[in-house]
């Protein structure tokens, strides 16, 4: 296996195989590649910003320890996100943690908004509150689709559901969130 190179980013399965052969740099690359998106996803699920580092680290640790369970049928990313979501659920339940949503001034979209940026902070606050009121599966599907840009096929492998069901959950989530945002 050729050494890691910055010029030619290697696909996740190649990095996983390299790590399983003892190449720790491959694991580090996987962490760098996915930590930010995983943190945003966990934040959207309701994790407190102060817990994100611990949750993300624990997710990767569990994932690397369980790599033999990853058969490559789902993408590494969707498999990782599934571990993270389950960990967040356990974390939340075990410690009795309840997220009191802080209103982050910087919690705003970074893309152009047809309505302008004026209401973006308020929109982000409402969105985060609204997400927590959704059923868990709807919340996860919405985030994987709207925040992470996953296709339904990838979403269903991350959540253990079907593409059709994922699509229905997404549309229900959008409908309910829009009702909350009015």
């Amino acid at each position: 296996m050729r050494p890691l190179s910055e010029e030619s980013p290697q696909p996740d399965p190649t990095l996983v195989a390299a790590y399983r052969s003892g190449d720790q740099a491959a694991a580090a690359e996987l962490v760098r590649r996915h930590a930010g998106a995983l943190g945003r996803y966990l934040y959207g699920l309701g994790a407190a910003a102060s817990d994100l580092d611990d949750l993300v680290q624990e997710t990767f640790f569990k994932a690397f320890r369980a790599l033999s369970g990853w058969r490559g049928e789902a993408s590494f990313r969707s498999w990782l996100f599934r571990i993270g979501a389950n960990l967040h659920k356990d974390w939340f339940r075990k410690d009795g943690r309840r997220v009191i949503l802080p209103i982050e001034d910087h919690d705003v979209p970074d893309r152009s908004d047809p309505e302008g940026e004026a209401g973006a902070t308020e929109m982000a606050r409402k969105l985060r509150e609204g997400l927590l009121r959704l059923p868990r599966l709807q919340r996860e599907v919405f985030l994987l689709r709207a925040q992470q840009g996953m296709e339904y096929a990838e979403i269903c492998s991350a959540l253990g559901t079907t593409p059709g069901a994922a699509r229905v959950h997404y549309h229900h989530a959008v409908k309910r969130l829009k009702e909350m945002m009015r």
Partner: protein
């Protein structure tokens, strides 16, 4: 786009810059408050949590932890047959060793099978094997541990016959 609104599945790709609105879609978006609300919703989702997670640089921490907390060694008994064999052997050994009054030597009709596979097991692995002893062995242990005074005469006679 259906008759009334834009297709919901179009918002995320456009928000991520992976696709563009067509002219008709853009015109609809301009005049439809419902679709504008969905656009704002998806745009907000895209930016959610970005500052919090942007600073996450845990590769060093994860690697150090992986090195510090090595994985549990893989089981030497990979096959189900190995476990069954070990459990059976453990049951036979337990019966032979734990019944009082018996000499360590083989009783008539009972053959002791020496399993060298057990020699290399750690105490934890041996405990795992012992946990798989079938109920019959547990019952034998239970009978032997009970006070003899609690047994009826027929039970005592049966026990003595069994020990002969």
């Amino acid at each position: 786009m259906n008759a009334q609104h834009l297709d919901s599945d179009r918002f995320a790709p456009v928000a991520r810059g992976e696709s563009r609105w067509t002219g008709a879609e853009a015109a609809h978006l301009d005049r439809c408050p419902e679709c504008r609300l969905e656009w704002r919703l998806v745009s907000a989702a895209l930016g959610l949590g970005r500052p919090e997670s942007a600073g996450i640089a845990l590769d060093g921490a994860v690697i150090q932890r992986l090195a510090r907390e090595p994985a549990q060694p893989a089981r030497q008994w990979g096959s189900r047959a190995g476990w069954v064999l070990a459990a059976g052997a453990a049951a036979v050994l337990a019966l032979v060793v734990l019944i009082p009054g018996r000499e360590p030597a083989s009783p008539p009709g009972l053959t002791i099978t020496v399993l060298h596979e057990l020699d290399d097991l750690t105490p934890a692995e041996l405990e795992a094997v012992l946990e798989t002893i079938p109920p019959a062995a547990d019952e034998a242990l239970h009978v032997e541990a009970a006070p003899l005074g609690e047994l009826s005469v027929p039970d005592l006679e049966r026990m003595l016959r069994d020990m002969e």
